[in-house]
């Protein structure tokens, strides 16, 4: 059974731009990372461009989504499974 919603914790410039720490997104019927990113883009349009590609369905270069903190993906077709939480973060380190 999947959760009715998924909480996306925003990290880095996503948090700075959105001016909030996390977003609660209704669980997308498609059950994919791309659908989640699309829903996020519609709720937080300021992320479109710097964090989410203009078509709204994929993350911009340098950003990734993690469902468990152990692994992450940039693949829009990746399955969300029953994860209640996700991290949206920059996977570019250094400095």
């Amino acid at each position: 059974m999947t959760a009715p919603s998924i909480t996306v914790e925003l990290l880095g410039i996503a948090r700075l731009l959105a001016e909030r720490d996390e977003m609660v997104i209704p669980y997308p019927p498609e059950g994919t990372a791309g659908a989640l990113v699309r829903a996020l883009a519609s709720q937080v349009p300021v992320l479109v461009g710097p964090v989410i590609l203009p078509d709204g369905g994929a993350l911009a270069d340098g950003f990734a989504l993690s469902l468990d903190g152990r692994a992450w993906t940039r693949d829009p077709t990746a399955a969300l499974g029953d994860a209640p939480r996700a991290l949206l973060f920059s996977n570019v380190a250094g400095g």
């Binding site: 990290l11 410039i13 468990d68 903190g69 152990r70 996977n91």
Partner: protein, 618 residues
Amino acid sequence: MPGGYFGRFLWIDLTTRRARAVPLAEELLRSVVGGAGLGAALLTRLSKPAVDAFAPDSPLLFVGSPLVGTGLTTTAKYAVVAKSPQTAFIGDSLSSSHLALAIKRAGWDALAITGSAKAPTYVVVDHGDVRFEDASALWGLDPSQVESRLQARLGGGCRIATIGIAGEHGVRYATITNDGRHAGRGGPGSVMGAKRLKALAVRGAQGVPVAHPAELRQAARELAERSRGASTAKYRLLGTAGNLLTFDRLGTLPAFNFRRSTFAGAERISGETLAVSHRTGTSACASCTIGCEQLYKLHSGSVRLEYETLFALGPLVGVDDPDAILAAAALCDTLGLDTISTGGTLAWAMECFERGALSLEETDGLELRFGNSAAVVAALPKIARREGLGELLAQGTRRGAAILGRGSEQWAMHVKGMELPGYEPRSLKTMALGLATSSRGACHNRSGAYEVDFSGDVDRLAADAGRGAFAAASEDYAAVMDSLILCKFVRRCFSDFYSETARLLSLVTGWDVDGDELREVGARITNLKKLYNQREGWTRADDTLPPRILADSLPDGPAAGVGLSRSELDMMIGAYYQARGWSADGRVTDEAARALGIVAADGGHRSAESFVVDIERC
């Protein structure tokens, strides 16, 4: 002489108080380009084998690059290269801004300083003239005071590199400061202090010749435009402090002397929080269109803060008070202390104290417990002056543990004597390999192997032999960036790094360089550094990680239960040596050296260890 170079370096000897110009052959320059590469070549040539880092004969090099002063963004950089007093291997550290431009405009590709002054001295390089001046009145001053006094005394256009009190007192992780920036890792400030050289003042106004000026201007405009785009937004909007909270969430944030990989106070001190609560503005190095420097308010004034400083003076020592971290960062800048090694050494000492290996009497009454920010701030001047407890801590973790004993070697977190940066090796396996094998010790700049882990293309939590080639490629890539020199924050502005940067180098120099040649340059530089280390006594046992990393699994967080065994590390190290074409015990083979055009100084061929820097193109 090709564009971008003057074909000479200035050799300054403090003992004889003489200076002379030494020509640099075009073949050598093309083989190692500049920066860290040219520095490795010159260090090998100019230093005697097994010289002590603090001996007068030990050279201290300030090395520019062909791209400095050409208008290309992020290229106002230079490398400080010397034998590291921390590792006794090659030490190379980069710094930025106006001093790099001044050295170039004075007409020098590098400055080499040998000897030792009888009394505190500063050297003025004013175009082609060199003067040796009394620095007695400057001894004991902090870098910003020295800079302002010398600029007032010497007039406009002079740029200053100087040391703080830590460099004067021989703290093995002392920095050299210029334009508010620091060449810190490896302790070059203490090499400068051993020479009683308080400061170097450089002025120059020569234009930098380039081979194809019109095309270069166009290329510079295009690169500048890309540098203002999405690929650098993280650095411009948040700075590197933005790493901390993400690293916490991913279980890669070292805390409490690497006993944990998450930190309960991460939110409170995160870059995201500081951007709202403490940020006062941003700034940029000279010739930079990114502007990554984030300035944060102190009780008086402001301080620049990077992730590594935030990690080292925060979670690593258990401190979650942002004001205390900022104050400690500012104090390190004032005293001339490398913040990573300072935090690493304090974390080791805190664990000593909490385990009873250091008594209250031995810490001069400081309750050196994790999280005690007041003790951190109080310890810093003691370290810089080597007073009381500071005499032990000024040695760094490796030497400190060897002196103290009491089992403290087990929690001394260093590689080759250099304290670890803020990347947890157990949950970043490719980085673990990069840290273990890097020529300058535990380093996140000479090996950017963490990029492989963060790409998501590998299982970062698992070790496999495939990491050997990744780590080698990462080192060679960094060697090219550090030799051109380009800021690593511009790296994602290139879609084909080697071919695009080869074109930039060709436009500057007039050489017909392609991407394959630059790849070979990267491998050559990595091998040269390794050969230097071999000459200085490197053995296979030096490529390793601290005992804690190889014994303990991570206790909590998303990487809970993940460890790294010695056999896993050895397997990856073996794969790395194989990828490099080195022997099974990690030595550069004659064949590997020859394939990169590295030959013996006298033109003959003996063994890999005897190779120095006369390099012929095959």
